[in-house]
């Protein structure tokens, strides 16, 4: 795999940041976009734009077909059984809120339990907290160990007859832990408990197979998979989409509307109210094509190489500590430097053109568990090179110099 050839497909890297070559290490936050995605957005708006599904003129038919083409591509991308099981949302957060709201409305009552983990991003905690507030549900946390791995043995202890759903991340955005979700699902299935997987971080890094996993729900954030912002995907098994009540009400999600009753559209439209981000969904198809053109085997191999190179190199710098040491780790490295707050690290490395994230990364529960108030995070994408890591490390040396660390 020629990384430089891949990198050249991303126009942003021809720009300078603070007069320096951009070293983008914030892909867990949002990934940069390849030229194919950008060209499609531009072309669609300039030449093909129309709303989908409503009008019958040629532009609308074309737009609808292209929109549905992306749905079919997503189906293949995650190996869903049917494209009806692919719902487009505003983002992955909305996808999880969709499930929490509709599933909660139908299946959660006072005293019922929702099981999540200490690794979760706020987007896979807050929507469930609403059910605690509104319905008197109980949220239980599957604990992690100091390495950042979930303690799977505790799962059986935490599951009770009151457990109604398990919601768990596939890949931690802080420790990079690849969670053994298949094992979690196997345990849950024996107790007939549905499982939602937050796949925000995993989708760009791991080959997803929802049928092999046998999960009930899977949420994806398209902008992290080299796609446009404004699009998320919810995969849900057909039975759930047919059984659960609708989420947002409005145009496009109805069947018949009368003064005294309303019937809803079949899936997937039932969950796609109002005008959708048409151009962005159409352009997301290019992201999937881009991913497929590289192939997950190559992608995983490359990211593993970069991650190991970065870990080895960071460990040699005095006073740098890596957060967590999970059994299986993807390209996300959070770290601290003794004597320098992550915000100061971020400001100083930014002067060198290095974009990292600093803070709690929307994981306050996890940071408290690890006794950290904030961390710095370097997260990798397909375009990152060993040279990027070298520049990061020399920028960290600059932090140490500014702060006069020995």
């Amino acid at each position: 795999m020629d990384v430089n050839a891949i990198k050249s497909q991303f126009p942003i890297f021809s720009n300078k940041v603070n007069g320096k070559q951009l070293v983008y290490l914030d892909s867990s936050n949002s990934a940069q976009k390849p030229i194919g995605v950008l060209k499609t957005l531009d072309h669609f708006y300039k030449n093909e734009f129309s709303n989908t599904g409503r009008s019958i003129h040629s532009l609308a038919v074309n737009a609808t077909n292209k929109f549905e083409d992306t749905r079919a591509s997503v189906k293949h991308f995650i190996n869903a059984e049917s494209k009806d099981e692919i719902i487009f949302t505003k983002n992955a957060t909305e996808a999880i809120n969709l499930v929490a709201t509709t599933f909660g409305q139908q299946n959660i009552n006072k005293g019922d339990e929702i099981l999540i983990t200490e690794l979760e991003h706020h987007s896979n905690y807050v929507p469930w907290h609403y059910l605690r507030e509104r319905k008197g549900a109980i949220i239980k946390f599957l604990p992690i160990n100091d390495d950042g791995d979930i303690i799977l043995e505790k799962l059986k202890e935490l599951i009770t007859t009151k457990t109604k759903i398990i919601a768990i991340t596939h890949l931690s955005n802080v420790t990079g832990t690849i969670v053994p979700v298949k094992e979690v699902i196997e345990i849950a299935k024996k107790k007939k408990i549905p499982v939602l997987i937050d796949g925000c971080q995993s989708a760009p890094h791991i080959k997803i197979d929802v049928r092999d996993l046998d999960c009930d729900f899977y949420a994806i954030s398209c902008h992290k998979v080299y796609g446009p912002t404004g699009v998320g995907v919810l995969y849900a098994k057909r039975k759930w989409l047919e059984q659960l009540p609708p989420f947002i009400g409005g145009g496009g999600m109805i069947n018949e509307v009368e003064k005294d009753r309303i019937t809803y559209a079949p899936i997937p439209e039932k969950y796609e109210a109002g005008t959708m981000p048409t151009a962005e969904v159409v352009a997301f198809n290019e992201s999937i094509k881009f991913m497929n053109s590289i192939g997950f085997d190559n992608l995983i191999k490359h990211e593993k190489e970069i991650t190991n190179y970065a870990l080895d190199k960071l460990k040699t710098i005095n006073s740098v500590s890596i957060v967590g040491n999970p059994k299986n780790k993807a390209g996300v490295i959070s770290f601290t430097i003794k004597g320098i707050h992550p915000h100061d690290i971020s400001t100083i490395v930014d002067e060198e053109g290095v974009a990292i994230r600093a803070g709690h990364h929307c994981c306050q529960i996890l940071h408290k568990r690890l006794n950290l108030s904030a961390t710095a995070r370097a997260s990798f994408g397909i375009y990152n090179t060993k040279e990027d890591i070298d520049i990061l490390c020399s920028a960290i040396e600059k932090c140490r110099k500014v702060f006069e660390l020995k």
């Binding site: 603070n18 004597g339 320098i340 707050h341 992550p342 915000h343 100061d344 400001t347 100083i348 002067e351 600093a358 803070g359 709690h360 306050q364 940071h367 108030s373 904030a374 500014v402 702060f403 006069e404």
Partner: protein, 157 residues
Amino acid sequence: MDLKELYQDIILEHGKNPRNFGKCDKHTHQAKGHNPLCGDQVEIFLKLNNENKVEDLTFKGSGCAISMASTSIMTELVKGKSIEISKKIISSFINMIKNADEIKLNELNEDQKIKIMSLSGVKQYPMRVKCATLAWHTLTSAMDGEKSDVNTEVGDQ
């Protein structure tokens, strides 16, 4: 942008060795401040005497060099001042950080002005302004006896 202007020696020194750190005895007022975006937290302990003068002012918390230094310098400058003058210092500081105005306070001596102006580099880094101002807003909250915590994302901070 110049990093040296942001991370001046005074700031690095106060960041490493913050003055008046800890909980003071018999404080009469206290307030908490929080920046939910980064997790910075500060707790202010204020002891006012009968004449409404700041007899003691300390803080606890964690944060970046900018927030720790800013809080440390604040406690030094405000200690011993009346409430009225303290509030003048606070508003001049916030004005300086946000609007780049010089500090023109007769109540501060030259040495104190140098200290407070060492934080002026922050204004070139808009994302860091809240790091510098959190403690100052929290001190105002303590003086006014506000019940709710200061949150950098709520209201005009």
